[in-house]
């Protein structure tokens, strides 16, 4: 699926929730079920700076597509990371560079992507793009 198609799918899914509690319960569930990062990649060099909770992001290029894995000590952060990776992982570097994260606003989780929140998600999105940019030059 293309990035925008997945984003639309997520927006549609979230529109079914009646209140924030259902939404958060879903995010927490996603946080619990996200494919874990390999222990060998849970290293300091993969840590995202500036967060209240530790957040790791790993990226590798496989058959022309970027595969991301992530982990966080905080379950909500991890769940939102899962929502981000569902969109960006397994896409080509060029498609990742040319996409945005407006859908996070649309599903009502904007506050978690605020630079003042210090949860590392803003830095994570930046880092996702840096990886894609680096891979696009290979």
């Amino acid at each position: 699926m293309r990035i925008d198609e997945i984003q639309n799918e997520i927006v549609e899914e979230f529109s079914l929730f009646e209140d924030w509690m259902q939404k958060y319960e879903y995010i927490i569930e996603l946080g619990k079920t996200i494919k874990p990062i390999d222990n060998k990649n849970k290293v300091d060099s993969n840590l995202i700076k500036g967060c209240q909770s530790k957040l790791w992001l790993h990226a590798e290029l496989k058959n022309g597509k970027v595969i991301y894995t992530a982990d966080s000590e905080a379950i909500i952060t991890k769940g939102i990371a899962a929502v981000l990776l569902r969109v960006f992982s397994n896409q080509t570097p060029v498609d990742i560079i040319n996409s945005d994260v407006d859908y996070i606003d649309k599903i009502g989780l904007k506050e978690h992507l605020s630079p003042t929140r210090a949860n590392g998600l803003v830095s994570m999105v930046k880092q996702l793009k840096y990886y894609a940019l680096a891979f696009s030059k290979i």
Partner: protein
Amino acid sequence: MVLISDMNFDVKKIRSDFPILGRKVNGNDFVYFDNAATSQKPNVVIESISNYYKNYNSNIHRGVHSVSQEATEAYEGARLKIQKHFNVRKSCEIILTSGTTHSINLVAHGFRELLNNQDEIIISGLEHHSNIVPWQMMAEKNGAKIKVIPLKENGQLNMKSFDKLLNKNTKLVFVNHVSNALGTINPIKYIIDKAHKHNAAVLVDGAQASAHFKTDLQELNVDFYTTSAHKLCGPTGIGMLFGKEDWLNKLPPYQGGGEMISDVTFEKTSYAELPQKFEAGTPNVAGAIAFGVALDYLNNIGFENILMYENHLLEYATEKLKKIDGIKIYGQSIDKTSVISFNIDGIHAYDLGSILDKFGIAVRTGQHCAQPIMDFFNIPGTIRVSLAFYNTKEEIDLLFDSLKKGISMLS
């Protein structure tokens, strides 16, 4: 035990003084438990700022015109209120700064020139980042050594270690009156008396203390004391540094500019008398006036009443939160202000803080700018609930219920 109903304390009336307490957050009544970060402002303080700008805004100390006189009198009047509140001998010993961080930097800058590489300073292990960095910057310049008073498991400073750290080379001891992360009240009178026996000066950061109780600086016999107005219902960007006159005369000026000079030629400038020596440039006139109004407001309620009510709330909240499975409260000193720093087993502070926010409850999560304390407890951070005299038992009940809901969502 004194019951709130027995006290001469009408919290409902007090709450009506604070417009922000009536707002909604995420569709819920706003519950503000982040008072150690900054306090909310009563109408009288907010109005004093607009009244200044509407009616007598003018630059101070230099105008011959009437409005400038009025502004100068109000600004200097604020200094007198601060002097009276802290029972300071002379008004020139009160320097109006932009806040505690500014005050500490002012003193640390002065000691940069007064100390050399033989000298030592002692700081407490309970310090806020803003309190550690200026001394490190000072030590980089003059080579003085920084020693740290270690913590005990209950969040108190280890006074036996402090006694051992003091020696003839100790020139300055720096400690906060109350820890921002844990609420521990430090034994500053003991520290001051001991330090003075070794001829060391003492600077106390009162930012977390001033909102909760009154401090008599003459009785304390402290050399420097500082606080920020925004912690005690005043505006941001204004605070005070008290320094004993002899010490303030010894310290070199911190910033150059207008107001702080008495005579300027291109060859040499002589500095103004205290307090102007340390108040370069046009000061925060509106802020100072509002600071004075905030002190009046709190003194009208009475600090004895504030302390008694807050202690009552603290006791109620502590007992209630202890009922939550897996809770660990950090900093269980008997002497503490109305701060509860805690974690729930298996749950990250950020997650719980995010859910409490959805319920309209504002708490602080993270390291509270005090990483060394978090390292001591070997935790990434805590949830900090800091109470003020305008909080209520009902709000604590709401916190308890919301915590339970949050924990069940996250477990």
